[in-house]
């Protein structure tokens, strides 16, 4: 396997422009002759589909939900970054780049991250022009707020529903192009396989989630925008339909999977309340602007938190990180929550929670001001927990939130399979070992609006893409394999439900491949995953049949893929003998629990090649060395 990042030469600031000047262009009348399959309608997929269609390509757009507007991106709360410098606090593209590279703990590609910062401003322009109702100041101009990992205010937001508003903007742009006849819209279709013809991605196989029909689609390129794989942990903040299936099946067809072990655990989520729990709810990071995180100094202190005097509270983030305080990056905040609860200072019935307290902010700014900023988040909290956060501190705990790992892509966002492009959370590209808040929305939209539309043109113009028919042998083989797998799942007819298996897999992952990892635990995890996977295939019970709407069947094949991915994640975590960003190995930390990187040996992207599955997963590690020409590698410090 050859991994060529195709990063253009020259100064960082001019790489993207130079690239745009040099890539092949397709004339408008030629674009009309080409067909692109865009899988997924989150921020990345909706923006890519709309932009490609506007350029003249014929696009087919697929998603699992009954409408493109319901993609998981809809749930993003806090905001989107851009280097506009409206607050005049000294922000620049360079600074956004620096923060993102540092936030990722120097495990991402400089050139990609710089481009992301460069196009960030255009995203805001685009969204505003679409009618996205961002928050504004009295002047009528756009407002900003701060997010973790940055000392400037560069986050644009639409109350606590930024993802919803940005997605509706992109969705509407897509709907407009459906109206124009340029997008063939296929909701409730799940991609089950990638079709590779003569070494190039030329189509996909889907299952119609209503009729159960297996269908074949051909095109000149495939853009995978299918989101992240956080649900491998069963409990996460991701929507229930989020899955790894599309990406994993591409991996099995030859696409390298990069940095699978980089998983972001978000520090501010509502804690688990019982075994029946089906998902975890995020409380936006923006709350850390005004909320103070603390635990009682006394272990097992069961007093009402409001009765615990100031001197008996441990504001551990403020004390340990005086310059960033409650706004340290997510990985640091999560790790510290784990440390204090491991030490017995956790609160609530499970002891697996800490306080996020707005008392001081309400005293300072008044209840109305806090309500105006966070009203809907406070309501959501009260709805779920039955507690009123205006009167009682919130209880929070870390939860799996985002996956930095994903399919490997080059500077053009193309995987190592020619013609297979990957955008948004599904690729590995910009966040290294840790993503900063408000930068996933930025990346998804950067990829879809401003990168893919150009780089696809370059690929199509530069390759001879003779038409392929869906009758081609490769389509038949892939369609049969998909149908067979569904039959196989239905015919196990065992005793244990899919959810039960998934929950157990999630527990293994959370305990051993979660916030902190170590060699022994990872080795155990690999054994446990293998044996549970074996049991799954012998004892799972999937009700009903394949020929109609059958959610259990959908979940069954997604869980089957998670069982394979889980092993790869553990393998990846095991080979990375260092701590970096969200990947904390107990063996590699300073005395006070800070991550210790090993730049000499691990400054690389781990790109895994699938080699087969035979009781155990066979995977070969390839390394893309990360070269840092423009930033100096430092031990991260938020002290």
């Amino acid at each position: 396997m050859k991994l060529d990042s195709k990063v253009p030469s020259g100064p960082l600031e001019s790489k993207w422009e130079k690239h745009l000047n040099e890539i092949n262009l397709l004339a408008p009348n030629n674009k009309r002759k080409h067909h692109v399959l865009v899988v997924g309608t989150g921020l990345a997929g909706a923006s890519a589909a709309a932009s490609l269609a506007e350029l003249g390509y014929n696009v087919t757009s697929f998603c699992i939900q009954d409408s493109a507007r319901r993609a998981h991106s809809i749930a993003a709360q806090g905001g989107i970054n851009a280097a506009k410098n409206y607050p005049n606090d000294g922000d620049t593209i360079r600074r956004l780049f620096n923060d993102t590279i540092k936030g990722g703990d120097y495990r991402s590609r400089e050139a990609n991250v710089y481009r992301l910062a460069q196009v960030s401003n255009e995203i805001i322009d685009q969204a505003v022009a679409q009618g996205v109702p961002f928050a504004r100041e009295y002047s009528g101009l756009l407002d900003n707020r701060s997010f973790g990992g940055a000392q400037v205010s560069r986050t644009f937001y639409a109350r606590g529903q930024t993802g919803q508003q940005l997605l509706l903007g992109a969705y509407q742009a897509m709907m407009r192009m459906i109206h124009a006849g340029k997008i063939d819209y296929q909701p409730r279709k799940e991609m089950l396989d990638l079709v590779v013809v003569d070494g190039k991605a030329r189509g996909i196989i889907t299952r119609d989630l209503v009729s159960g029909k297996i269908e074949r689609w051909s095109g000149d390129a495939v853009v995978l925008c299918t989101g992240g794989y956080g649900n491998v942990f069963y409990l996460s903040t991701n929507a229930k339909n989020s899955n790894v299936t599309a990406a994993w099946r591409c991996h099995k067809r030859g696409a390298a999977f990069a940095n699978p072990c980089y998983v972001q655990i978000h520090p501010t989520c509502i804690p688990v309340s019982g075994d029946y729990q089906s998902k975890l709810t995020l409380m936006s990071e923006s709350l850390r602007n005004d909320g103070r995180v603390w635990v009682p100094k006394k272990k097992g202190d069961e007093r009402n938190p409001n009765d615990i005097p100031e001197e008996e509270r441990y504001y551990y983030l403020e004390e340990r990180y005086p310059s960033f305080g409650n706004l340290v990056p997510r990985d640091v905040a999560s790790r510290n929550a784990k440390m204090v609860t491991d030490d017995g200072m956790g609160i609530g019935p499970t002891g697996r929670a800490v306080y996020l307290d707005f008392r001081d902010a309400i005293d300072r700014d008044g209840k109305e001001a806090i309500k105006a900023k966070y009203g809907n988040l406070f309501d959501m909290y009260e709805n779920i927990t039955g507690d009123n956060p205006y009167e009682q501190p919130m209880r929070i705990f870390p939860a799996v939130h985002y996956t930095m790992g994903g399919l490997w892509v080059d500077y053009n966002l193309m995987s190592n399979i020619p013609g297979l492009f990957v955008a948004g959370e599904a690729n590995f590209s910009d966040h290294g070992a840790n993503r900063l808040g408000a930068s996933a929305l930025m990346q998804g939209l950067a990829d879809g609006y401003f990168v893919i539309p150009y780089t696809i043109g370059d690929y199509i113009a530069g390759n001879d893409l003779a038409a392929v028919s869906t009758d081609d042998e490769a389509f038949g083989e892939a369609a049969d394999a998909s149908a067979k797998q569904l039959d196989k799942l239905l015919n196990v007819k065992g005793d244990r439900s899919v959810i039960d298996f998934h929950r157990e897999l999630g527990k293994i992952m959370w305990d051993k491949v979660g916030i902190a990892r170590n060699r022994e635990g990872l080795e155990q995890a690999i054994e446990e995953i293998r044996s549970l996977r074996e049991e799954f295939w012998k004892n799972v019970r999937v009700p009903g049949e394949a020929g109609y709407y059958n959610k259990y069947l959908e979940f069954a094949h997604r869980v089957a893929d998670y069982f394979e991915l889980a092993e790869l994640m553990a393998l990846d975590a095991l080979q990375r003998n260092e701590s970096c960003g969200c990947h904390l190995r107990d063996e590699y930390q300073t005395e006070d629990g800070e991550a210790v990187r090993n730049d000499e040996e691990f400054s690389f992207v781990a790109a895994w090649e699938y080699k087969g599955l035979n009781g155990k997963l066979e995977a070969e590690l390839h390394k893309e060395d990360l070269e840092f020409e423009f930033v100096e590698l430092k031990q991260r410090s938020y002290k």
Partner: protein, 253 residues
């Protein structure tokens, strides 16, 4: 953990497909924790059904956070159930008592055919947006964001309308199965912003026409839609839509 357990009786609409005849089936669950969400209670039921070798109840959901609009069902006659401003995925069992009977039906409307059990086809909503619910701005052609200030009052108003999650509860609650709240919300959102002005007239004409074509009924001001809307869209959206529609009809410049 903790929280008290209760027994809940369920009467749920089961229907195998759009053409099939449906019927209510009854079930009893006796370990329902008050901290469970309503959908988690249905998960527990489904696990039980699967163990018994029966088919689980199908229902739509995704985010389980009240934002994606996937979930929609009618509970004891009310879309999204008893709690105001709450989508069913955000409803918790602490709103019920031990021994309660809960009747669950799909969100019925001529324009929302049943797919299976509680799952309905809401693609008509997409087609209404497709007809004109957007600003026609191409990627790359946008002016600098702060060149067009929007006063805070209107920006907030626009947001209030834009927050519609497209769940269809408004349609299910309306005696006429009208989609006016959904359609009006998008029209009002874009009307409040300068970006929405150039296409204002065509938008309202196209969207209203599409709404009628899909077989949604007319609005007779029952306001049931506003009462069940999980995000509190105001029926002022409908007034706004009507005003614009009349204006657009009679203004032919």
């Amino acid at each position: 953990m903790g929280g008290s357990n209760m027994t809940i009786h369920l009467k749920i609409w089961r229907q195998e497909g759009p053409e099939a005849e449906g019927r209510f089936e009854t079930y009893t669950l006796d370990q329902v924790n008050e901290h469970m969400s309503f959908l988690e209670m249905l998960d527990v039921l489904n696990e039980q059904l699967v163990t018994e070798g029966k088919l689980p109840v199908e229902f739509d959901y995704d985010c389980r956070e009240g934002i994606c609009g996937s979930c929609n069902m009618v509970i004891n006659g009310k879309a999204h159930g008893p709690k105001r401003l709450t989508a069913v995925c955000q409803l918790h069992m602490r709103n019920y008592s031990d021994g309660d009977t809960i009747v669950i039906e799909p969100a019925r409307a001529a324009a929302f055919p049943v797919i299976r059990d509680l799952v309905v086809d809401r693609s008509a909503f997409d087609r209404i947006i497709e007809a004109g619910g957007y600003v026609s701005v191409k990627t790359g052609s946008a002016p600098e964001a702060n060149t067009l200030p929007v006063d805070q009052f209107n920006a907030n108003k626009a947001f209030d309308y834009a927050t519609c999650i497209g769940c269809g509860a408004c349609v299910a609650a309306c005696p006429n199965s009208s989609a006016s709240l959904f359609t009006g919300a998008k029209i009002a959102h874009l009307n409040k912003l300068p970006q929405g002005q150039p296409e204002r007239k065509n938008r309202v004409l196209a969207m209203v026409e599409q709404m009628e074509k899909e077989g949604f009924g007319d609005c007779s001001n029952f306001a049931e839609c506003e009462a069940v809307c999980p995000v509190g869209i105001s029926i002022s959206a409908i007034a706004e839509m009507r005003r614009d529609y009349m204006k657009a009809m009679f203004d032919d410049n």
